[in-house]
């Protein structure tokens, strides 16, 4: 006969300020199988947990209900707590009387009434709970890293340093990501390529790291410990093994196409590497523009390749990798300023984005590091930088702050001044957000040492007049409008998730927010984990982030994975389905329904020797969604911790 104890938490005044916790505890004693109840100021604290342990021992309790915050916050805490006094962790339940009650209802009587009801539901459920044993699942000690930018590279190197294999999947022909496009980095003004390139080489030569470049994730199945990843390696038309990276093919290729890497500021060839330091340094043929692949004529690259690496017959290829954990490090895209009709909506050639400016000032960029106007090739003498284009704009863009723009704009004013000594830079800003080591000092330097004029106010309109871009803004501190004839205007466009972020998340089962940034499991206590076990986050796919933050997060995610890989078996919650074979009629419905292909049919012989098929659940594949249960004709499938009995018990007490 179950003996349940109820523990009502005050949570300081968070609960007790609204809910009469003593009444809740008193009423709880009337509920079925409840033999003990008490209250405490902070149930999750060490002394609070002692209260629970003591009560379990003294009253011989075998079930507990903690009425406190949401189970998502402290469910595990109380499970661990009763485990220390010999109870199965699965014999506890929580009633969320804080998030679902005291914080959302105003009337104390109503809140108290509801708290009592929530406790009633939890006690009803807990008496049907059973002691479960954790599942031990084997761990494949290899990690998948999606994205080969600085975050992905860092994660892979850290994992490799711990002695485990890391598989990088990068959609572009080369690793490097956004950082490869930058010129110098704030606040130290290190050359981006100079600090990135060694890492790229390191990752390319590390025998524990496998790089699948020019590849995409097709599908991921399985769960923590044993994921199976289908990767589509796009046809490169150049053999990675044979190519020597001599570059003759690129030189001779007659087709010019806008360069994606240079953000359409220059052209590339139909066979090319995105940038000179590419890793792998093997070109790809763009099948949409290659004359041979579109028209069947040309073939120059094949003729000039002495290594015989060009292969027009190359096909996309699907490869399978088995891994135990995944890091999503997919990075960011930039908000498209076309939505800003008042800034020209892309019509003015001398209005460019911050990233385009990075390419312009880059010595290996389209102009060899000369800052010139796209319209007439002249050197600009007045450059206006506009911040928050898309960011903090609920009407046209995104409500959030993109975090890095204040800093890179300050950097760009410094670099502009270094390139063009008599240039005057103006920065239109709303607030300067320079929280970070040496960041504020850096912005100050831009203003004092490099003479960037900061103007507080959003720009209302840009228009062309006599070969210049007229910038119509407001100095809100002065309370006066300003009009600046600029030679070049640079828009700090918002950081947005990669275009493919949502599709990828749906393939993996990652949770994401309304902007398609990936969700961390907990904003403070689990910032690099995703809610899906075994998947971790690194870099700007989670939120706008600068390089140091991305690298730190990448190392943190790698450390989490190394922890996971430190054991042969992983102990996880046994929240899986099971089939009562005696009742199963072998109808196959569950097999068809299961999203994880965790159910299959097996042949069993009954006592008379007759054969029949029954369903069985592969517990390492089952994720515990319970979708199979309602469709089972003979009601013979059960789901641990969410049994029909348990849910029914809750529903029966409403």
């Amino acid at each position: 006969m179950p003996r349940t104890g109820v523990f009502v938490c005050h949570c300081g005044s968070n609960i007790a300020g609204k809910v009469d916790v003593e009444t809740v505890a008193a009423k709880a004693l009337n509920f079925d199988r409840v033999v003990f109840s008490t209250t405490y100021k902070y149930m999750c604290s060490q002394p609070g947990q002692e209260v629970i342990k003591k009560a379990v021992r003294d009253n011989n309790l075998d079930r507990i209900v903690v009425a406190a915050c949401t189970p998502n916050l402290h469910g595990k805490t109380f499970q661990r707590c009763i485990k220390t006094v010999g109870l199965s962790p699965y014999l506890s339940e929580m009633a969320s009387i804080r998030e679902h009650c005291s914080w959302v209802h105003t009337d104390p009587d109503e809140a108290t009434g509801k708290a009592i009801e929530l406790v009633r539901l939890a006690t009803a459920k807990v008496r049907k709970n059973v002691a479960l044993l954790p599942l031990n699942i084997p761990v494949t000690r290899r990690a998948l890293v999606i994205g080969g930018g600085i975050a992905g590279i860092q994660s892979a190197l850290d994992i490799a340093a711990a002695g485990f294999e890391a598989v990088i999947v990068e959609k572009e022909p080369s690793v490097g990501g956004r950082m490869a496009q930058l010129d110098k980095t704030f606040p130290t003004l290190d050359c981006s390529a100079c600090i990135l390139a060694p890492r790229m080489v390191e990752v390319a030569t590390n025998e524990k790291v496998i790089i699948h470049s020019y590849s995409k994730i097709e599908k991921i199945t399985g769960s923590v410990g044993s994921f199976e990843v289908q990767i589509k390696k796009k046809a490169r038309y150049v053999d990675l093994g044979k190519c020597t990276g001599c570059g003759t093919c690129t030189e001779k290729c007659p087709v010019k196409v806008d360069s994606e890497f240079n953000l359409r500021l220059s052209t590339r060839k139909a066979i090319s590497t995105p940038f000179p330091q590419a890793v792998p340094n093997v070109p790809v043929i763009d099948p949409h523009h290659c004359r041979y692949l579109t028209l069947g004529k040309c073939g120059v690259c094949q003729k000039v390749c002495q290594a015989g690496a060009v292969n027009y017959e190359d096909k996309d290829e699907i490869i399978i990798e088995k891994v135990g954990a995944i890091i999503a490090a997919t990075g960011y895209d930039l908000f498209d300023p076309k939505k800003y009709g008042e800034y020209g909506g892309g019509r003015y050639r001398d209005v460019i984005t911050g990233l385009q400016f990075e390419r312009l000032i880059n010595a290996s960029g389209p102009t060899g590091g000369e800052i010139t106007r796209l319209s007439d090739g002249k050197t600009p003498k007045t450059i206006v930088f506009i911040q928050c284009v898309g960011s903090r704009d609920e009407q046209k863009g995104k409500p959030y702050c993109s975090k890095i723009c204040c800093m890179y704009t300050a950097k760009q004013t410094i670099l502009a001044k270094e390139h063009i000594p008599d240039v005057q830079c103006y920065v239109f800003y709303i607030d300067i957000r320079a929280g970070g080591k040496n960041y504020e000092e850096f912005v100050k330097r831009a203003q004092t040492d490099y003479g960037a004029v900061y103007i507080r106010g959003r720009v209302s309109k840009l228009y062309e007049q006599e070969g210049q871009i007229m910038v119509k803004g407001m100095d809100t501190l002065l309370g006066e409008e300003v009009e600046i004839p600029a030679d070049l205007v640079v828009l700090a466009t918002a950081i947005v998730p990669r275009r493919e972020a949502r599709t990828l998340a749906q393939k993996i089962g990652l949770s994401y927010d309304q902007h398609a940034f990936y969700n961390e499991a907990h904003p403070k206590m689990a910032p690099v984990e995703n809610l899906t076990l075994g998947i971790y986050l690194a870099g700007a796919c989670q939120a706008p982030k600068d390089i140091p933050d991305s690298v730190a997060m990448a190392s943190a995610a790698a450390a989490k994975i190394c922890g996971l890989f430190s054991r042969d078996f992983l102990s996880i919650d046994p929240i899986v389905a099971s089939v009562a074979e005696t009742c199963c009629v072998g109808c196959n419905t569950c097999v068809a329904i299961c999203p994880f292909k965790a159910i299959s049919m097996e042949i069993r012989k009954d006592r008379t020797g007759q054969e029949r098929q029954v369903a069985t659940v592969n517990t390492s594949l089952c994720q515990g969604c319970g979708t199979c249960l309602p469709n089972c004709r003979s009601r013979c499938i059960s789901l641990n911790n969410w049994t029909t009995d348990q849910l029914y018990a809750e529903v029966m007490t409403i």
Binding site: E342, C388, R392, D393, E394, Q395, K396, G397, I430, R456, G457, R458, V459, S460, K461, K472, G473, M474, D475, T476, G479, E480, E481
Partner: protein
Amino acid sequence: MSKQFSSENIARLNAEILVKCGVDLKECYQCGKCSAGCSSNWMMDYRPHVIMRLAQLGQRAAILASQAIWVCTGCEICSARCPRGIDVAAVVDSFRQLAVAEDVRYGEHDIPLFHQYFLKETRDHGRVRELPLVANFKIHSEHPLSDFALGPTLLAKGKIKLVDDAKGSGVNDLQELFKLKV
């Protein structure tokens, strides 16, 4: 002189504007884009974002007595470009309406006067007749003789008629809605 803030004034004006035009003044984060785009900013004592700031802080009297609310042409570029989607033009309209309703001493004389004679034409004749409107308005305005010279040109070009047969009887149904003081 320093501004006096009081929580009651702030709450009251915020509520008043919310009811009048559905704008939550607290949404404004003072980026100044409204002022930057404003056609008439160069003539205003308070730029639009300052009007919004004064409003946020409950400075009702200062706004009602300002000249800015009257030189606003109602072009709505402020509303169209506001990153927070605030209908700034509607806020300005609300303040003008309050100023008229409460008969405060306007920070600008001629423009509200013009509106009153414009509506008087509408009330009394259904349609606006240019000559009586100009005549009435100019006589009472602060610059009665300005543009007097334009008169003959306009008459010659047929832009103004001496006798106007304007009528539009539909307005009769609305007489009682006009609360004009002219």
